[in-house]
């Protein structure tokens, strides 16, 4: 069974703190994504990774960076989090025509 995992599932941080969201997949998929989901805005693409150390900005990369040092692991980093980064973050991995989504991380920045 194809599986994408995300840690942590819930996170509360204060404005200005650093945030690390982690995503893993056990399918050796090359391409992975980070999205955020906000009410009324649907899913917005933050970053794409095509493989280890091969990352590309999505539609809303400002305020975020990513790291992919192993194919099965893709991290989203917020340096000095802002209150407008409060959201639900989804990771996905891609094979063929389909994307498989993780369970999401609900991040609250106070």
């Amino acid at each position: 069974d194809m599986k994408v995992t995300q840690m942590p599932r819930y996170l509360i941080k204060r404005m200005g703190e650093n945030v690390l969201l982690e995503c893993g997949q056990d399918m050796s998929h090359e391409t992975m994504y980070w999205y955020r989901q906000d009410p009324g805005l649907g899913l917005q693409l933050i970053y794409i990774s095509y493989d280890v150390d091969s990352n590309s900005e999505g539609d809303i990369p400002k305020g975020y960076r990513v790291s992919r040092k192993k194919r099965e692991h893709f991290s989203l980093i917020l340096d000095s989090a802002k209150t407008n980064q409060t959201s639900v973050y989804f990771c996905a991995s891609h094979t063929g025509d389909e994307q498989y989504f993780g369970p999401g991380t609900r991040l609250t920045v106070l």
Partner: protein, 112 residues
């Protein structure tokens, strides 16, 4: 530019009725089209896709969708609807960039 429009933010119907969720897209070439479902508090689950071939595609959970090139639509259908179908449904498109472009979603409420 590629885009996906789901014109109905909310749809409410009674259990046993037929459901049809609308999706239209804008893309200059042949699109790959998808439907995903998101149950409350959960992640997105793949329902079905259209790549090529038969314009009516069947997916999981008894859903099907019809691709209509003439009016650039890819509507999701199910009959009869069940209360457990209550969820948010997203239509999505992949074009030549390989990225999924999502619509804003339709929240479906099926009343028992």
């Amino acid at each position: 530019a590629q885009s996906v429009d789901q014109p109905d933010a909310h749809v409410t119907l009674s259990e046993g009725a037929s459901l049809e969720l609308r999706c239209s897209y804008s893309y200059s070439a042949a699109p790959y089209l998808f439907w995903y479902v998101q149950y409350p508090g959960q992640s997105l689950q793949f329902l079905l896709k259209y790549i090529t071939g038969d314009t009516v595609v069947k997916g999981t959970k008894g859903f099907e969708a019809e691709f209509r090139k003439s009016n650039s639509s890819f509507n999701l259908k199910k009959s009869p609807a069940h209360w457990s179908d209550s969820a948010k449904y997203f239509c999505a498109l992949t074009g030549n960039t390989g990225k999924l472009i999502f619509g804003l979603g339709t929240t479906l409420q099926v009343q028992p």
